[in-house]
């Protein structure tokens, strides 16, 4: 699964720390999700999409192998 968290953050001019604070997880966890090492739960994905003001499908997309 790929994601556009980095792009969305850049649009809002947020650091990983800023995003982490807004959804209540650690900065390291944001980094883990952003780099695709960890696939977040539906709740966390929805929270992220909400703070970005975007649809969850535009933040997280399935890849061919998924």
């Amino acid at each position: 699964m790929k994601n556009t968290i980095k792009v969305e953050r850049a649009k809002k001019n947020w650091t990983q720390e800023d995003l982490a604070g807004k959804i209540g997880i650690s900065r390291q966890s944001i980094n883990s999700i952003e780099t695709g090492k960890f696939i977040p739960s539906t709740v966390l994905a929805l929270k992220m999409a909400k703070v970005f003001g975007a649809n969850v499908e535009s933040v997280f997309q399935l890849e061919k192998q998924d």
Partner: protein
């Protein structure tokens, strides 16, 4: 919420230290001094009680972690548990072959190996998820 999480994490660390501070002296006392059996049992039970409280606090700390950290802990425990079971199976099978070395693989050492395996699992999992 952040303050609450910090307090919960701190509590688990404090109780880990309290357990260590009761376990090591208890081992030393029981190893180097001869007490009445009832006194020995009381000395032996104290670190078990502190360990139980520590585990309770640790589980509480797990419950307030975010999902990435919970996954790291879960995998660390699974790896630690698997390696411990593997070691115990090897020791049991070697014991059946009349090969045993209580000097290195006594109960006390198994506790240390168990913690060592948990930290090995933690290290592997942390590396895997980059946290």
């Amino acid at each position: 919420m952040e303050q609450f999480k910090k307090t919960v994490y701190r509590n688990s660390i404090i109780f880990a230290l309290i357990h260590g501070a009761t376990y090591l002296p208890a081992v030393w006392l029981l190893k180097h001094h001869v007490f009445e059996q009832s006194v020995s049992i009381i000395i032996a039970i104290v670190p078990i009680i502190t360990f139980a409280i520590f585990i309770f606090k640790l589980i509480k700390a797990f419950s307030v972690m975010d999902e990435v950290k919970q996954r790291v802990q879960l995998e660390a425990v699974v790896i630690g548990f698997s390696l411990t079971v593997m070691l115990m199976m090897v020791l049991f099978l070697l014991n059946l072959c009349d090969i045993s070395n209580p000097g290195w693989f006594g109960y006390g050492y198994l506790v240390c190996y168990c913690w060592l395996f948990y930290f090995v699992g933690w290290f592997i999992s942390k590396k895997k998820y980059g946290v």
